[in-house]
């Protein structure tokens, strides 16, 4: 019990003395607390003791309220260096009275040894036990020197930059011998602001400041302390960092341009994709315009659609509406830009370019060009013929005139060439024509051909004085031996029996080379030359003497033609009574006339066979002919 009470007393004593002790500012420099107590003690006391280099140190005192002791010499400083148990108090080795400072030089400074300081007046000793310290604990190094900065880099956006700050250790601190190890703290702030930003404390003599802003001035200062100690020295004088706009605009502008370009392209692509995916028809029409359907003037485009063959035949044959006359209703009122299939009568002269024979055949062949050309080029645009090359050139593949020629040949020259190759040769011999007419003409200038039993081709049975051509099947025609000359004659041959299925005896007739004009009124385009070529080659491999053979165009975007077993003509014969006249020519469509708008009028031919003199005015009406317009899908329905 006694022990506990004595210990309690001891604790009480301690508490009391601690209060007294806490008020003494002299001990503050021992504690590592950098704040000064608000109340200064009245008696003389030491204000601070500081070492700058771990080799010397200084102590400052204050007389407190005892102003009579403020005169120099009134107070004396004594210290006790407790390096041995029998140490004694000694007086300050060096006074600096003006500062009330006591300086301990290197001889009197020992590290790791406790110093106790005392102030003595005449007869009073002012001593605080806590004014004892070891030198290493009171070290506050001088600020570093030679603080400067270099620009490290600038961000690509040109907004921020990095700076490398470097400095020298304080000259008073002996770092080179390893006696003092110092670590540094950099602080920076925007000029005229109040908050300093401190970087990480580190022992090296350089540090990078990241993320400074262009055009803003910064203030930087530095201080240091001994490693693993707590007391920092004073701050150095600040330096100022200011980086203005970098003149190398090209760099950042290039960067920005690239960004804009990339994002723009990506954005456009995304928008297009969205439009396509969402299938907004209106927008899709604008972005990806569809291929227009064939537009024949006077014919309702509805008729050209699938399954409406009868009406179309009716119209074409002139029934009901008077045919394709100028009085035909304008079905394309809302599309004023539509250009119709036209036939240019003047182009008939072009047919005589190569061969100035001026034969009927040429003219004959010159006239139906619109159809064939129209069908052959595969262009989605209707072609107007007055211009030879324009309009067609864009749709025209220079390689394909030969095929084009062949098409023409095949369609207009019934009969059978010796072989397709021969005809092809002819075609190829023709110089690259700017127009269909040329090769067309030249096909005739070739080897003698015998067109035998070309059921598939429209045989010209008659040439009208008006310039129209009567196409009739089943008539044998022979091209005259005058190969040089444009011996036309769409030879009509083609017995009807060839059309029939029992055409096996037609084998002796050369392989039927015919080409099916696959017309797709749906508007996905006409058989291209390529298709025609393929059709012809396909045909060449087909069984000879088979009668009509239809060809499936590849790629089969159009409806495939009827099978090869189709013995019937590719052209459906309308059931109109007018067709009777045309029993022998039931397959073919006769171009009746070309009206003023250069559209083809398909009419039954007149009874008489006019001399094959084409007048210069091909715009006369041809006799109406019951003709049928067959669409490829209907070919499948044809029975042999």
């Amino acid at each position: 019990m006694a022990v506990s009470s004595s210990s309690n007393l001891l604790v009480l004593l301690l508490l009391i003395s601690s209060l007294d002790w806490l008020s003494t500012p002299g001990s503050t420099f021992l504690m590592g607390w950098d704040h000064v107590t608000s109340s200064a003690p009245p008696e003389p006391h030491f204000t601070k003791c500081i070492s700058r280099d771990l080799e010397t140190f200084r102590c400052w005192w204050s007389p407190g309220n005892f102003h009579n002791l403020s005169t120099p010499g009134a107070l004396r400083v004594f210290y006790n260096k407790k390096d041995s148990p029998t140490s004694e108090w000694k007086e300050c080795p060096e006074y600096i009275h003006s500062n009330r400072e006591c300086f301990f030089d290197a001889e009197h400074t020992s590290v790791w040894i406790t110093y106790c300081m005392q102030l003595r007046s005449q007869n009073v000793t002012y001593f605080n036990e806590d004014d004892c310290f070891t030198v290493e604990n009171i070290v506050r190094p001088d600020p570093p020197v030679s603080l400067n900065w270099t620009l490290l880099n600038v961000s690509p956006s040109g907004v921020s930059y990095d700076v490398m700050v470097n400095w020298e250790p304080p000259p008073s601190a002996d770092v080179s011998l390893g006696w003092m190890r110092i670590e540094y703290e950099i602080q920076y702030r925007k000029t005229n602001t109040t908050n300093w930003k401190a970087l990480k404390i580190q022992p090296h003599t350089q540090q990078t400041i990241y993320g400074l802003h262009i055009g803003t001035e910064y203030e930087v200062h530095i201080r240091c302390r001994m490693q693993a100690f707590t007391k920092f020295g004073e701050f150095s004088d600040p330096i100022f960092i200011l980086v203005t706009e970098i003149p190398s605009k090209g760099h950042e502008s290039t960067f920005q341009l690239t960004l804009v370009f990339v994002f723009g392209v990506v954005g456009i692509l995304i928008v297009i994709m969205i439009i396509v995916v969402s299938q907004q028809h209106r927008l899709m029409m604008i972005l990806l315009p569809p291929v227009p359907a064939p537009k024949i003037k006077g014919i309702d485009p509805e008729l050209l659609k699938k399954g409406k063959l009868d009406e179309l035949n009716l119209v074409l044959s002139g029934g009901g509406m008077g045919g394709l006359s100028t009085y035909a209703p304008d079905f394309y009122q809302d599309e004023p830009w539509v250009e119709f299939i036209e036939v240019d009568a003047e182009n008939a002269d072009n047919g005589e370019k190569e061969d100035n024979q001026g034969s009927d055949t040429q003219r004959l062949l010159g006239q139906p060009q619109p159809i064939i050309h129209h069908m052959n080029t595969g262009c989605s645009n209707a072609i107007s013929f007055p211009d030879d090359d324009s309009g067609r050139a864009s749709c025209y593949d220079p390689d394909l005139p030969d095929q084009d020629t062949l098409m023409l040949m095949a369609t207009l020259l019934p009969g059978q060439p010796e072989n397709v190759e021969a005809s092809f040769d002819i075609v190829e011999r023709a110089p690259a024509a700017e127009g269909v007419k040329q090769p067309l003409v030249q096909t005739q200038t070739g080897e003698p051909q015998t067109w035998v039993n070309t059921d598939f081709y429209a045989q010209v049975s008659n040439v009208m004085p008006s310039g129209g051509v009567v196409l009739s099947p089943g008539q044998q025609l022979r091209i005259q031996e005058s190969s040089e000359s444009a011996t036309e004659e769409v030879t009509q041959k083609k017995e009807k029996e060839h059309i029939s299925s029992e055409d096996t005896d037609q084998k002796k007739q050369k392989e039927l080379k015919f080409q099916l004009l696959v017309v797709d009124p749906e508007g996905s385009g006409y058989t291209t030359e390529g298709n025609a070529w393929q059709i012809s080659t396909h045909l060449s491999s087909s069984m000879p003497g088979e009668g009509y053979q239809t060809i499936h165009p590849q790629p089969v975007e159009t409806r495939p033609a009827a099978t090869a077993e189709n013995n019937q003509s590719p052209y459906i014969l309308p059931d109109s009574p007018q067709s009777q006249f045309f029993t022998p020519v039931a397959d073919y469509t006769v171009v009746q006339e070309v009206d003023s708008q250069h559209s083809l009028l398909l009419n039954p031919p007149p009874r008489q066979s006019p001399p094959p003199c084409l007048t210069q005015h091909p715009l006369k009406a041809l006799p109406a002919m019951p003709v049928g317009y067959i669409t490829p899908d209907l070919l499948g329905n044809l029975s042999p």
Binding site: S7, A106, W112
Partner: protein
């Protein structure tokens, strides 16, 4: 037959002889290689001084932690650092003296100091477990780290001393006479704990300073080492 056996035996013997000589040669080569590829002293010193850095930082942190929660009420009655058990060791006390002492002596002093703290650290560690302090767990962990680093440094210095001559091998004994108990009551416990720790902090600074001076001396060619 016998002759054949003899030759075979001789051959075997020769082979064995060759083997042993070969292995000897191999050992020699290995030893030489090991000797030649020994770590230079400056490197060892560098590592040692890094370790002493850590040690000193740890002790400083520990002291701060102790002081933060525990205002040194009892400081006035705290034993003076001159009463540390290592105060009897004569060490350089300023820069001049430190520069005059030889390297081996410096190393010996460092090793002696380190050795003197092995036992007290154990005492500190055990007392930390029951220290009446708010940050007791942190302090306890740090004491254990201190022990670990101290041991590492001691081992490193032992290796180093082997390369620096006989003077470096001598260690002055500085026994700790404080016993295992640092006090019964809370105040004395804290006081003694604080006192011991401050002694350790002073000594760790000494060790660090000596090693740094040694390092700078050894790295004359490489001023950036200092």
């Amino acid at each position: 037959m016998e002759k054949e056996k003899e030759t075979a035996a001789r051959k075997r013997g020769e082979m064995a002889h060759r083997k042993t000589s070969g292995s000897k040669l191999l050992m020699t080569v290995l030893y030489m290689v090991a000797a030649c590829s020994a770590i230079p002293i400056s490197d060892l010193l560098d590592r040692a001084s890094q370790r002493s850095d850590t040690l000193h930082s740890l002790s400083a942190t520990l002291t701060q932690e102790l002081d933060s929660h525990f205002p040194p009420i009892g400081r006035m009655i705290m034993p003076r650092p001159s009463m540390c058990h290592t105060s009897s060791l004569q060490t350089p006390i300023d820069k001049e003296q430190a520069l005059q002492v030889s390297e081996s002596d410096l190393l010996s002093l460092a090793r002696s100091l380190l050795q003197a703290w092995v036992d007290p650290l154990v005492v500190l560690s055990t007392s930390a477990n029951t220290l009446p302090h708010p940050a007791q767990s942190n302090i306890s962990n740090k004491i254990q780290e201190l022990q670990q680093h101290s041991k590492n440094l001691g081992d490193g210095l032992d290796i180093l001393s082997g390369k620096m001559g006989p003077a470096a091998q001598t260690i002055s004994l500085l026994p700790y006479r404080g016993g295992n108990d640092i006090g019964q009551d809370k105040i004395s416990k804290l006081t003694n704990f604080h006192f011991l720790l401050s002694c350790f902090r002073r000594d760790s600074h000494k060790i660090d300073s000596f090693l740094k001076v040694l390092r700078c001396r050894a790295a004359k060619m490489l001023p950036e080492m200092c």
